[in-house]
């Protein structure tokens, strides 16, 4: 080039093009799988949250209360005994309240076994007293038994210990199942993304080789795949979480929760659940990005 003719060529306008070319054909099935996994993970998370909430409520219902059963005795009026027992119990320290329930309440509890026709009036039916405790950790069982024995009232005190142990075991199992399911789904998602990242690296070996030759570090190349799969995880996560939100809304609005399936965790749609669903795409993106980075870095380490 002579100096007279020399002119400064103009570089093209615009920013950087993506170093990893779009790969829609390969990414579409992965997107679908990831979205489905995120959908299932969201349902598992909502289920886990529901299990937590339900078990907490079950435990609090049982922990702060006791039930006294007043047995009918010949020559005594069971209703009077129940009222008197409730008065005596309410006066004891550590008792917040004691309410005697009527015979009709007892008959209502027996309805599932004896039907709605009512019980014969002369059939002795135990009456119940609901006792609320001031301090759930202090159970004044012996005090109650002593004061009732002094007055000759035949009664049995149930501190709910038998039930609370069973409920605690059931709720612990429900929590572990939900968390286990969530962990399995997240693990499956990470494995699928790692597999896809390895396949993507194999398909784009030309790009990785070209970048290596021009001096790119492993971290630089892994970062390209990491960003690509973060985007894919983000979009798949948003789609999966969106469908999970739809299901949660339908279940919450439709009322198919605790009343119908008391021992199953209920799906609710409260602020915590909404926040979980909003976080799901970010978590999916992070899991995808981390899986892809680790998988690609491992593949690159095998070279040279």
């Amino acid at each position: 080039m002579s100096g007279d003719e020399k002119h400064t060529p103009m570089p093209p306008a615009g920013g950087h093009a993506r170093l990893l070319p779009p790969d829609a054909g390969r990414d579409r099935p992965l997107f679908a799988v990831a979205a489905i996994l995120v959908f299932l993970a969201c349902l598992a998370a909502l289920g886990a949250r529901g299990a937590w909430t339900s078990s907490d409520r079950w435990m609090s219902d049982l922990a702060g209360s006791m039930t006294v059963q007043v047995r009918p005795v010949d020559g005594r009026d069971a209703s009077d005994d129940a009222a008197e027992a409730a008065r005596l119990i309410a006066a004891l320290p550590g008792i917040a309240s004691a309410d005697a329930r009527s015979r009709a309440d007892s008959e209502a509890l027996l309805e599932p076994w004896f039907g709605t026709g009512g019980l014969p009036a002369d059939l002795p039916v135990p009456l119940l007293i609901d006792v609320e405790l001031s301090d759930p950790d202090i159970l004044p069982v012996e005090d109650i038994e002593a004061v009732l024995a002094d007055t000759g009232i035949a009664a049995t005190v149930d501190d709910h210990g038998r039930w609370s142990d069973a409920v605690a075991r059931a709720s612990h199992l429900a929590r572990m199942l939900a968390l286990g399911l969530l962990t399995l789904i997240l693990g499956a998602a990470a494995a699928v993304i790692a597999f896809a990242a390895r396949a993507s690296l194999a398909a784009r070996r030309d790009v990785a080789d070209a970048l290596h030759i021009v001096g790119a570090t492993d971290a630089y190349i892994a970062g390209l795949f990491e960003r690509r799969f973060f985007g894919l995880g983000l979009e798949a996560g948003a789609t999966g979480a969106g469908f999970a939100a739809l299901i949660a809304i339908l279940v919450a609005v439709g009322g198919g929760n605790a009343d119908a399936m008391y021992f199953l965790p209920e799906l609710v749609f409260a602020p915590v659940e909404i926040a979980s669903l909003l976080a799901a795409p970010l978590i999916a993106g992070a899991v995808a990005a981390l899986s892809a980075r680790l998988a690609v870095a491992e593949e690159l380490r095998k070279r040279w």
């Binding site: 093209p12 021009v214 001096g215």
Partner: protein, 238 residues
């Protein structure tokens, strides 16, 4: 013309770009492709690497641009024993080497400009810092009207010039070309050779692997000759 196992003009270590001592290389558990290879590439030298197909030229080049490890012997780049290098040290050394492949190895989804700028982009430089230099280099190889073209739309000779521009854009100390004239016509081959000579004149150490004897005869440069994995050195008087 002299013929020996090692080129005789051994320089001081700081003047040696690449040194091989009794190097052997094999892929996996396969047979040894390179056997007892010893040579040095002095700084500023222009050297041909010749040999028939299958002689091991590409394998030798892979060792030089650090795409593969030697099975035995000592390989030094810029005074560093590559066997003792950590993996994270390799990119810095690779940036001091420019490579031109027979099959170009362009990224077809990127423009000519983006391909040529790739080493600078990978090194973390900002586009605004290198854009004009890259454009000038593309102009220097005669492709100023193709900056935004995709490599696949160019002829073989044009793609080879893009590959050369990419290889020299970060001013490497060593330029390696593997059969650079394999896909171009004789006229373009002569023009590419002039380009390599010009780069060498500007201080770049050049190693060209070729079995094109016309190309080799065009210059009185030393020849590393490979046959059955063994290397001999021939110096030719100017």
């Amino acid at each position: 013309m002299t013929e020996t196992g090692v080129n005789p003009f051994l320089q001081s270590e700081s003047e040696v770009i690449v040194r091989f001592d009794d190097v052997g290389m094999r892929y996996g558990r396969g047979p040894e492709i390179l056997k007892d290879v010893s040579f040095v590439l002095p700084r500023g030298s222009f050297t041909f690497l010749t040999g028939p197909s299958g002689a091991g030229k590409t394998s030798l080049l892979r060792l030089i641009y650090m795409a593969h490890k030697a099975s035995r012997g000592v390989v030094q780049h810029f005074g560093h024993d590559t066997a003792a290098l950590r993996r994270k040290d390799l990119p810095d050394l690779r940036r001091r080497i420019g490579v031109v492949f027979q099959e170009f190895r362009m990224l077809d989804h990127l423009s000519v400009f983006e391909n040529v700028a790739l080493p600078l982009r990978v090194a973390g430089q900002k586009r605004s810092a290198y854009a004009e230099d890259v454009a000038e280099l593309i102009s220097w190889v005669g492709l100023e009207h193709h900056m935004e073209s995709r490599p696949a739309t160019l002829s073989g000779g044009e793609q080879q010039r893009v590959a050369i521009a990419r290889a020299v854009v970060n001013q490497p100390e060593l330029l390696i070309a593997d059969e650079p004239t394999g896909n171009v016509d004789p006229d373009m081959a002569r023009r590419l050779l002039r380009l390599f000579v010009e780069l060498n004149r500007l201080g770049t150490t050049v190693l060209i692997a070729t079995h094109d004897l016309t190309l080799v005869r065009a210059l009185e440069a030393p020849i590393l000759s490979l046959a059955d994995g063994r290397l001999t050195y021939r110096e030719r008087a100017a």
